[in-house]
Amino acid sequence: MDNLLKIENGKPIARTDIPNLPLEGFSQTLVDLAENDGFVVQMFAYEDGKDTKLLAVMRQKRDLFVTGCSVNKEFDSLTSANEKFHMFEREIAEQYGIRPLNHPWLKMVRYHANCTGAQDVFGNNYKEEIPGNYPYFQVEGEDIHEVAVGPVHAGIIEPGHFRFQCIGEVVLHLEIQLGYQHRGVEKMLPKVPKKRLPIICETIAGDTTIGHNLCCCQAIEGLAGLEVDEEARVVRTIALELERMANHVGDLGALSGDVAFNPPANYFGRLRGDVLNLSQVLCGSRMGRGLVRPGGVAYVLKDEQRQLLRDKIAEIKPEIEHVCDLLFTANTVLARFEDTGKVPLERAEKLGLVGYAGRASGVGYDARDSFPTECYATLPVNRNTMTNGDVCSRATVRREEIMHSFSLIETLLDRKGDTEAVFMKDYKLSPSSFVVTLNEGWRGEVSHCILTDATGGILRYKVKDPSFHNWTGLAMALRNEEISEFPLCNKSFNLSYCGFDL
């Protein structure tokens, strides 16, 4: 397979080693791989001197591959051959003004001008500051009506626009228009001083602070040749699992609230706070801010913090178990959870769903298992058994993962070592290199790519949040459901707006 170069998670390679295929060969290679259990991790454009290039990182079982090609103003879309490329090609069109020809659903992703100054693929005038300047998909007919929701929603949540095509109460199609949260992250990252990188990456998606920042710091470590000792890896792994637990606990509470079962909603709401406070014990921030830094961690786990974590876990673990039991044995809850918002395995695979949303449909992918970083190679993996692809499965996976995270943290707290606190320095990155990092954030596969130029400056920084894959899954879950099931389906996925919008 000369067309693909096998790479490893977090290990940099020289940019000259990336295959540079003719455009046709590139397309054929990607489609062939995608049809043989291959999934897209990253696919993006970048400028290399006078050339514009496409680069794709694909995964197949436990292997990672990279390949690339040069491209002009357009290329034949791969989406008609395989759906997995659909969002990535739209993103390329928006970011670099390169048109994927015959793309079945070519609309903008986030609504912003491209970075090359090329003519806009979508014909938008960006002086008008409202995303969604394009004809929405519409269903016609006498009994059809349309419901528009957002961008400002009726709660303390992020903005996005949802357009439902309904017949009576039944949703025929849901179109999700995001982009309101676009802050220009990828445009900023190569330009800012390196001291700002972890701070920005921690806020790509605030609920995935550790997930995104780990990707960033591992990429810098790869390119700067930094070693991370075992104890720092223990702290990082604990932090990532605490993040997973806090979010899952909070979401189970929100799901309970969405089916009007108030006791667990309130109990989980408070218990989530207890888990967040454990992150505060670890590093002084409930969100895990300031903890992970290139080369290790900025806050060391001492006996005192270890004991505080152990004590609190001993206290809240049974409470969470009991509230889970209360939620998952209530008939009225199960009646709403079961068979709602189904994404069958075949569809989940076609869309390339990741994280618990994928696992709930039977996609057996967990980056902690397939591409382990930090301590994960030495830790057991959770295998979920309920794979119906409905709200109930997505909730059950979360319940299992909370308990799994508890046991991982308990194991890790017993591994005692020494590490020095590190803080951010101006590291020299190896020139003309490429690195990709993957971590299983709480929502699923988070991935960052860095390409460096001849002087070690950042040429291109690419970020991918799991939500980039999974929003389409939510749209599919809503088909033929009643519109009143939307909050429940939405919460069962709980995707990131800002992680998607960047």
């Binding site: 409202i130 709660g155 303390i156 309101y180 802050r183 806020t203 605030g206 006791p263 002084g284 800002c498």
Partner: protein
Amino acid sequence: MLKVIKNRMEQGCKTSKYPKEPISLYKRFRGLPEIKKNCDPALAKLCAEACPQDAIDPKKKKIDLGRCTFCGQCEMQSGGKFVHFTENFAMGAANRDDLWTDGTLPDLAAHSKKHFKKLFGRSLQLRQVSAAGCNSCEADTNVLNTPFFDLSRFGIDFVASPRHADGVHVTGPISRNMKAALLTTYEAVPGPKVVIASGACSISGGPFWGSEDVVGDLNSLLPVDLYIPGCPPHPLCTLHALLNFFK
């Protein structure tokens, strides 16, 4: 039903006694900084250069809490000799300039506009607008509704419609794509109304300062009455600011 009762008993009453009784946060929490005024100017300069947010003025030895993300870099860099972050979460301010702190902040309650206390002291309804917030500020505002904080016991609520609100609580650096929606929401709130900037992003752009895709300063669009610093502000920081400013 039996399970509901059993869980209810196990959970007990978890609501905090704050503000009647003080509450202390774990010592690693980074709140109001304590600045050592007689520290070596070279050290202050070193910290200012290392600060990812460029939020330190080494000459005046002041920190801009509106820009600071409380990452702790300056404390580590100076070994605590220039800055030490205390566990004090009382950091709300009525004026933007007050956030440039030498370690002290003016008393928020005294700086509150008198008519606000009269108008909103017994009931304050807020419409939250996330304008490109990363979901940390949003999440840590949302927890005020959980039983531990139980915000509504103070007569403060977050409401679904701007028509029902007394003001807006804004998070995020205000992306270009959210500007129109934010202004429309503000217009829909009946006057007299308050504007609260929550988190480093809405005050100064936070981690995204300098990006051309964000406005980065809520006060340049709407007249801000109350600033709540932090990245994100601790729920108690928000609670303290709301109680002192309005009650």
